[in-house]
Symmetry: D2
Subunit: 342 residues, 4 copies
């Protein structure tokens, strides 16, 4: 069986990454594509790297025919997904890649995104899409909310440590290095090559980055009490990859063991040998996550470093992994592409 | 049927790229790997981006067992392949990625590589590996010589034009922009990030680049008389991709038609609409080639621009495409991976 | 004596480069700055790299007081300079960095820029700002038109060869590699880091690039008859630097001698020893130009490669060099900063 | 008066940076250059970006004539400086850029560098070269030990906070992002463009980086008791610049005030307005340091981010600043060059 999917917002980076991955997916094909401002164009015009594929022409969402579509990937900007998804035919499965359904409590959504949630009823049905931790809920879900890419990276490093109780949950610092494609195809001065290449700086620092909403929600739920981490993202002069350097308090060997045990059976999570740390170059272009642990010279402190590709495992790869589950396909179908190096 | 292959020289970039591509190849698996200086190490240690794969440990060539191996990829440095391949069991099919068997006339080899050919008998059996032009000879061959990556790029732009007789063969200029991975994993000052990033310059200019041996051989054979092009490569501050800007004399529409006709049925060759030129970003990480044509304002002059990924279509992807033919597999097996962008 | 200057359009890259260079100029100081959309802001806010300088606040042009100002640098976008400069007090010396006054014939302006020239009278007074070739006219000029950065690079490579009559003027090809800052601080998709880094492609190819207007004008004037070159620029994934690879017909030694003789006394023009070619990394951040010559293997063909920094010698450094002449200062004042490497 | 200086180790990046800065220094000129493996070559051959300068030919150290030399910059690799400096004429002032004389206690040297100190008597005379904190001792010194570039960055962020007593000295974390030129011109696989560009990873993590010897020495001396920080450097895909992200406990406003007060009169230290953080792009190519402070959402926690150019303020610019003091020149002479952007 081959599932038919539609992609809303196909003219952005996560939309294009979905198409890239589905191109060699054995059980999925693209049935329809939307791209409002580029409606009428072919994907090969919008993204010449996809020129070798036979793909539907980009349409406006209101012109789309969802009959025969099994699942919709919604790769629209934040705040527009809510209305669009609410208007989709009820029977459609949906994987949303925006931030719109990540926070279970609409009050949290309003706090972090600055406006009331427009579809609180839909929110109740949404399942948080961190596959390895919500697999059972994702399989039967109608609506899965893809995680933030930074939020995913940090959670892969930290969740098993909270679960296993091997770290002090009051003392978690994540210093994150984020490739620029996470900012999307947006026309902002700071995203220009001339501005960004050749250097780095922190952004949305001090506790203002919206992905903290996800960290707060998820870590608190795991711990059974409020957990608030310190989180500082830095914009990196490369396109793909996030490196999360986690500073935690606990025994480094126990930290390593908690991760190794938790991820032993996971196809995409690779815990490096103790004392080795992850590099973004080793996972770029793939759905894999590398996690490494090292003891610091200060007793009782450990480093946990996780790396993933923000466009793949951090968004579109994760979306397909979840869609595979929702469609009854092999969870890893289409996702075993090796990273690209050099 | 799954073919078993061995890779000699797996610790270099083309060796690693072979492994990357075979990882999702439906009809090929890696049976043995050599890497002399890194013998005893796992591929995941030498190349952490391959850590998710179960692969044989690197061995010295003399310790390898070739029983059960169907085909050997030889990704050794130039000048060492000749002796190594000569010593392999006779029944083994071989795809060589070095320069050792590209030039049919041993005198040409000596002229361009500065030493006598060490295996002239083997040379007689070797088939030049530019798949789209030597397919029939490659299929039954025992030894196929992979082309130079620059030589491949230029030939994809120019061969159909010579074949169709639409350009002046005395006036061909190729200005080439080559990503740095083509220089291999060699420890040279000019390949350091601090030296190479942020700028460009011409190298091996003036007619000294060894790939001219291939251009001379192939274009002369096509034309039936000596053809000598002008060829200037430039080192680029990026890792993957070659852009060949061809300056030719002839009618631009006829040039475009010659290319479009010649490549109409080719799965990996994509001729862009007239007036559009190729970009390396649109093929990086894939086995695809983009070729574009534009008329210049000077009457009778045309631009032909070809782009391919030097590690994929320029070497390891080409090698697998040839191996597919030699092993009776589907020619495109394992090679339809979409480019990676951004 | 210290000259007081005003900079119109200080919030763009060439404006900021002017400020950078004047910061250590012994005979010039910034008296006023304009930046329409950023009026009211300090330069250190717009460009934090200038935060250490005491500078006037950005104003709207209409609010500027030009009393006490000796010279105005006009770094406004193309097509806006004409009106602005026409409205400036008559006594002010002006160096314009836009394209508005580069083409002596208003019909040429209209041909290349698509609209009638708005200040044809001013155009008659304008001197073309390629310092080493128009020095005597620049010294007493009231209005100097800075050259295009690509046009400057190509002319440094080719002008002496036309002057000396050592090449065939019907067969000049310039393949140009241009750093992205030449495109300015404009919000365009293709200038994003995610789109541009890691690859290259040709743009404004086939004879459509506007700097051809300058090549046509200047080379024809030199030759005394129409000269039309073939010119193909490529966008490069680095910020500063242009490399022009010139393909010419003539004796390479004579070509080298013509350049070495012509530039022997020039403080910023450095002709490399015969057989060495230029690199953009060797001049980035400076006002220097490197030019190298090599013979091709094809008899009678030579390569000429010139490199300069588009923001310095290609625009703002050139502007200051011209201003030095116009103000009676030492021509090299403030411009002997060494390139920055690595 | 113009001081004559010699540079030992001029063929490395810090040696070349010294030459770059001295090129426009009004009170210093280069009298002699050493470069053992490149003895006999001109600097313009070794570093074409310096080709415009008239400079002495590179010599072997043993062939150098130090008569008439006022001061020697020693830019040799670690562990070779000790013997070389011990053998220099006694009257020569010396600024050493290596790690050889940074640690006052020879036992610390042995601990961090793995071998006994070869010149413990010289060590006693050496002054630690962090100019803003050792100015009075540097002025009359004969031997000044340049600081580590990472160590300088971290100290500029943290020293005033320890001095002012506004942070908890048991809870200092520095997450550092270091440009690759800090690793020097060494031929290592991980420094190749193909390996390094496009990603990041932590190195010398867990408390093993040698610059911790300096942090321990300096912070403990300031605090009057042992201070041990947690320090994790990351290798960045850019050439110049270090960003140190400091996680400290204390009132953010008090932290900002301590920095602003301490650096108010310093010509090269720029404290950004409260709530703004530093970027390496804003100081690259210059001797300036930017320091910014922001409060975290977690009460009592602050971020301190410092940025400097590792080759300028982190080594060669610092060396010249110290030499200026030792030679009785204006401390800022030759060092007011503005950063280069974009």
């Amino acid at each position: 069986m081959t599932a038919s999917v539609a992609i809303l917002g196909a003219s952005g980076y996560t939309g294009a990454e979905l198409v890239r991955l589905i191109a060699t997916h054995p059980g999925m094909r693209v049935r329809a594509l939307s791209g409002d401002r580029k409606a009428g164009m072919g994907m090969g015009e919008v993204f010449p790297f996809l020129a070798h594929l036979k793909l539907p022409t980009l349409q406006k969402i209101e012109d789309m025919d969802f009959s025969g579509v099994d699942l919709v990937f919604c790769a629209l900007p934040h705040a527009t997904s809510q209305a669009v998804i609410a208007a989709l035919p009820r029977g459609l499965k949906v994987v949303d890649l925006s931030a719109d359904f990540r926070l279970r409590d609409p009050a949290d959504y309003e706090k972090w995104y600055g406006k009331p949630h427009a579809a609180p009823d839909l929110q109740k049905q949404a399942v948080y899409g961190l596959t390895e931790f919500y697999r059972d809920a994702i399989r039967p879900a109608r609506l899965v909310a893809g995680t933030g890419c930074n939020a995913a990276t940090g959670q892969y490093a930290i969740r098993p440590l909270i679960e296993a109780g091997v770290i002090d949950i009051n003392e978690i610092i994540l210093d994150l290095k984020a490739g620029v494609s996470g900012a999307g195809r947006s026309l902002k001065e700071n995203l220009l090559h001339a501005e960004l290449s050749g250097g780095t700086y922190a952004y949305s620092a001090g506790g203002t980055h919206r992905h903290l909403g996800e960290f707060d929600q998820e870590f608190s739920a795991l711990a059974g009490r409020p957990v608030r981490i310190q989180f500082t993202p830095h914009l990196m002069p490369f396109n793909r990859g996030i490196l999360a350097t986690g500073y935690v308090r606990g025994d480094a060997q126990a930290v390593h063991k908690a991760l190794a045990d938790r991820y032993a059976a996971e196809p995409f999570l690779h815990v490096l040998p103790f004392g080795q740390l992850a590099s973004t170059r080793s996972i770029a272009g793939s759905n894999f996550v590398h996690v490494g642990v090292m003891a610091d010279r200060l007793p009782g402190r450990a480093l946990v470093v996780a790396a993933l590709d923000n466009l793949t495992k951090g968004s579109s790869g994760q979306a397909i992994q979840n869609a595979n589950l929702m469609l009854g396909l092999d969870e890893t179908a289409g996702l075993m592409l090796a990273p690209v190096f050099p």
